[in-house]
Symmetry: D3
Subunit: 226 residues, 6 copies
Amino acid sequence: MRVVVSIGGSVLAPDLDPDRVAAHAEALERLAADGCELGVVVGGGGVAREYIEAGRALGANEVELDQLGIDTTRLNARLLIAALDGRGNLSPATDYDEAAAALRRGEVSVMGGLVPGQTTDAVAAGFAEAVDADLLVYATSADGVYDVDPNVHADAARFDEMTPAELVDVVLPMSRDAGASAPVDLLAAKLIDRARIRSVVLDGSDPTAVVDAVLSGEHTGTDVVP
Amino acid sequence: MRVVVSIGGSVLAPDLDPDRVAAHAEALERLAADGCELGVVVGGGGVAREYIEAGRALGANEVELDQLGIDTTRLNARLLIAALDGRGNLSPATDYDEAAAALRRGEVSVMGGLVPGQTTDAVAAGFAEAVDADLLVYATSADGVYDVDPNVHADAARFDEMTPAELVDVVLPMSRDAGASAPVDLLAAKLIDRARIRSVVLDGSDPTAVVDAVLSGEHTGTDVVP
Amino acid sequence: MRVVVSIGGSVLAPDLDPDRVAAHAEALERLAADGCELGVVVGGGGVAREYIEAGRALGANEVELDQLGIDTTRLNARLLIAALDGRGNLSPATDYDEAAAALRRGEVSVMGGLVPGQTTDAVAAGFAEAVDADLLVYATSADGVYDVDPNVHADAARFDEMTPAELVDVVLPMSRDAGASAPVDLLAAKLIDRARIRSVVLDGSDPTAVVDAVLSGEHTGTDVVP
Amino acid sequence: MRVVVSIGGSVLAPDLDPDRVAAHAEALERLAADGCELGVVVGGGGVAREYIEAGRALGANEVELDQLGIDTTRLNARLLIAALDGRGNLSPATDYDEAAAALRRGEVSVMGGLVPGQTTDAVAAGFAEAVDADLLVYATSADGVYDVDPNVHADAARFDEMTPAELVDVVLPMSRDAGASAPVDLLAAKLIDRARIRSVVLDGSDPTAVVDAVLSGEHTGTDVVP
Amino acid sequence: MRVVVSIGGSVLAPDLDPDRVAAHAEALERLAADGCELGVVVGGGGVAREYIEAGRALGANEVELDQLGIDTTRLNARLLIAALDGRGNLSPATDYDEAAAALRRGEVSVMGGLVPGQTTDAVAAGFAEAVDADLLVYATSADGVYDVDPNVHADAARFDEMTPAELVDVVLPMSRDAGASAPVDLLAAKLIDRARIRSVVLDGSDPTAVVDAVLSGEHTGTDVVP
Amino acid sequence: MRVVVSIGGSVLAPDLDPDRVAAHAEALERLAADGCELGVVVGGGGVAREYIEAGRALGANEVELDQLGIDTTRLNARLLIAALDGRGNLSPATDYDEAAAALRRGEVSVMGGLVPGQTTDAVAAGFAEAVDADLLVYATSADGVYDVDPNVHADAARFDEMTPAELVDVVLPMSRDAGASAPVDLLAAKLIDRARIRSVVLDGSDPTAVVDAVLSGEHTGTDVVP
């Protein structure tokens, strides 16, 4: 089973806690031990936010800010690789070919962001497309996809299951509003839709949730089923 | 005045007609002669479509299809560079740094697509962000931005002027429907919105329309004004 | 058995027909299934010719025209890779090291042109040299090597077998005359000669001809035997 | 006058304070306005330390830890570049050729670390060698070079002036002891010595100290005079 | 006037004599001082021959031997760059784009070999094509082009002037015989012919001969006039 | 057992003798046949010295001289790779990631120098760190580590065994004096110390000495034991 896991920055590195990174690495190793081919995309987290804030204060434009974020995701990817203790690629992949080549070599293939203008959510979807993944897991700080932003609407309802097209529909209006936070980025949703990738969106703060979701299909988040 | 021009594939290369490419090059040269610093992003056109169709028939996945498209945009970029007769960069830029460096050297800085999962519309917006462009011109096969898809709705109304946020609002629902064709890609619209880039969407089939829009502000398309 | 196959552009892609590409991929897969290590170099074909004509009309110089051709060979290489359905390298190799590395990994190693001033014929010979290939097959639009150009001389005689030095001798005068078309480029012949590479020149319009030539030595073309 | 300035991580980014970065950028801009050609090498600071600690806890080896440090220096370099507002190179240089090329283009040429096993002190000395700099300034957290570590020895005496060979002599024994902190790394001292580079070591916490040292030769640190 | 000069390895570096390299650099500087835009391609010479012999004894194949030769040409190119004292590019160009970019920056643009299977003669012709050079000078160990190999035939006659097509005709039969040494490689001749590049072949052992040939057209070698 | 072997230039290539290179390759092959994973770093030797002398006479600076040396180490690495007859990497690694990747693929991973300002001694230590080598062997022209330079002091005593910290202590004062020649470079010693790498320094003029030292621990040089 070929799986791409997106580990959001707020999940992997809200601050730099080696125990948290180790726990995520351990979850990935359990999946690998079970025979999964694994691609991983990691986000930026707290340090990325700090650099971006500093950059904005210094007059950096949006592309420069994105680049600060991307570089930080790669630092986080290096931490995860270190925690994988030789099972990962040597350095974070910088394009889909490198990422796919690591998979072919039997490595846990870790990468961060790719280019300005794209979130790591979208990179994860692109990675899944590129390697024809069987499953794409978003380990996020949200516990699934809601019909409306649950931080704003008390009566927001979570989807147990939805189609990629429905995911796009739900994410579209959230994407209109800078304040709202979609559990998955709109571009990611559209890539999931076009390539019809089976996906799961779940609360990744406990890394074992990813293991359960992949190995047994058990999770409390949202299944996106083409 | 620093301007990024996006020349859609259907505008530059519906088929490979050197006269059409030469006319676009001439328009760019007139802008350069008038003192504009020029970035140019070109699309794929007919050949891209042929390669993508062949790739799809052969079982290529979406990332592989995008890559076929990107490679073709670079071929088109080479044609435009040849037509610019030494005023362009030597080869199409492959990231924003290369593209910006060419601008710094005083060259007309031409590029094609960048990475899978992004259209050249979005690349053009990213290029404009990266170099703090004063103006971003979409030379498309549409003659502006309509409230609904004019190919579907006979009573569609064209905007003379709109804000970036309105552009996002208009493009969002079009982006939901694979059949509909937004004049500008949603990701591009969102980049325009976040970076507050003054933009124009116009019918680029006559290249002199771009010259007039840039030099005199005269055009029959849509102004996007932050 | 290590084999490099050169598939001429006029053979693989006179136009973009996925069925033709699929047939060539299938032939390669049969060879791989039979235990062959396979390198493949593909030519430009119809699209290359179109881009080169357009480039020439726009004043491109010879190096720029060659570059258009090379880029097109890489597009064709991507199509073939897609058709190989995961057995090929991820993207066309851009130098002999990359090409050889793919062979080492057990992939069908596909590449297009390399640098201006060299045909894909010569690249195929260089690839064969670089990996000490046991056999080099030119799948061309000609059905072998003739003593004089058969398109001009009705009494041209095809060689069943010849030495590399004889190949050079035959190709030399053809290379003097821009109108004549040697079945194999002079530089390629000279590389074959210096490295003493066993080669076959045959009509590749039916891809199974390559399979028969490699697996059983049966073919109606010309053997070049050092 | 061609000057390379090394801004230590503890000076530029003990924490991520945009005002501090802006002050350093302003000092550099004053030097550039005065006609200096400027190379700048920045260190890692607090974030580097955090990543290295996390990496160490996760079992990263020394090369991996260095790589975390290097990546962070490049993030800091991006912040400084943003603060330089278009006068710097577009992205941090990744080798001496790139760094020298930026100087040739008239840009303030900023870089971070280069390869594992080398500090940014040594990179600064290498940069100065590579471009035949007239002056190399170390803006450090120390206020000059002492005969013994002033943090350990109350009677440590600061040099006003010394030769490169003396610098090596002083730094050598400090380098023996992991606890001690030389104001300049031993490898850097040896590069300064072999290339006979005029250098200044000074307290860089106030960026204007660098300006004064370069423009008037006034400073309270140590002159290293070949 | 844009000139590409090919300095053969036997001319620049039969052995490693800095005075000889300095003399060639001085000749180039005189041309540059006179307003010439200069591209330079250097050969391998004695060290290349030594490495190639050692490689052959160790069983290296032809591509590996060529690579040894190419790497040595780049070492020679670095020497020439050092001798040009800041007027050259920072490091030898590794493709025609890099080489052309150095010319655009006003540098003397130096390069060595490019890829296996091509001599530096051919690279020089390709460079000349790529930058639309007005003149291509081969500073060789021969004193011009003869109708037959003058080392073999006592009555060989030197051409004062010939067309590119004649050059191809003369070089073709020499290229058939491994023992014979054409003053210019056949591939180079064919590139000169296709791009109609005005060329001079002369004895380069005295570097001032190149200066005279370029600035006054005076030389005792052979003019190739399209 | 994972071993990195540093073969000094004076040991591998005092002059270019294929037999000597072949003997070193044979020793490495015996180690590989015995199950060792092998990294190899080779020095510059006589040709490097010639290029550096010529460069110095032409006014090259220290970084340019180092670059000449590095390029020559890579030529030597190519010779060794040729002698390894397909067991080595295809081309010398240019950073630790490439070097480690070759090890992962089961190749003998050969590299030369890395960046200016570092000897190949230090590169070998960095390589050993990067891949967590069990043993690092310096095959040098010295027969071990002495308390003082044996070329100067008749009563110099060789260490049979020492700690990395002692190695640093011994090498430090030698490094102060340009005339003295430490058996291992100071930076290398410091890397060995920080990463606690078991090392051996021995006379490598007979390549079988390396085989014995690795396979049986028998040698007449110095053991560095953390």
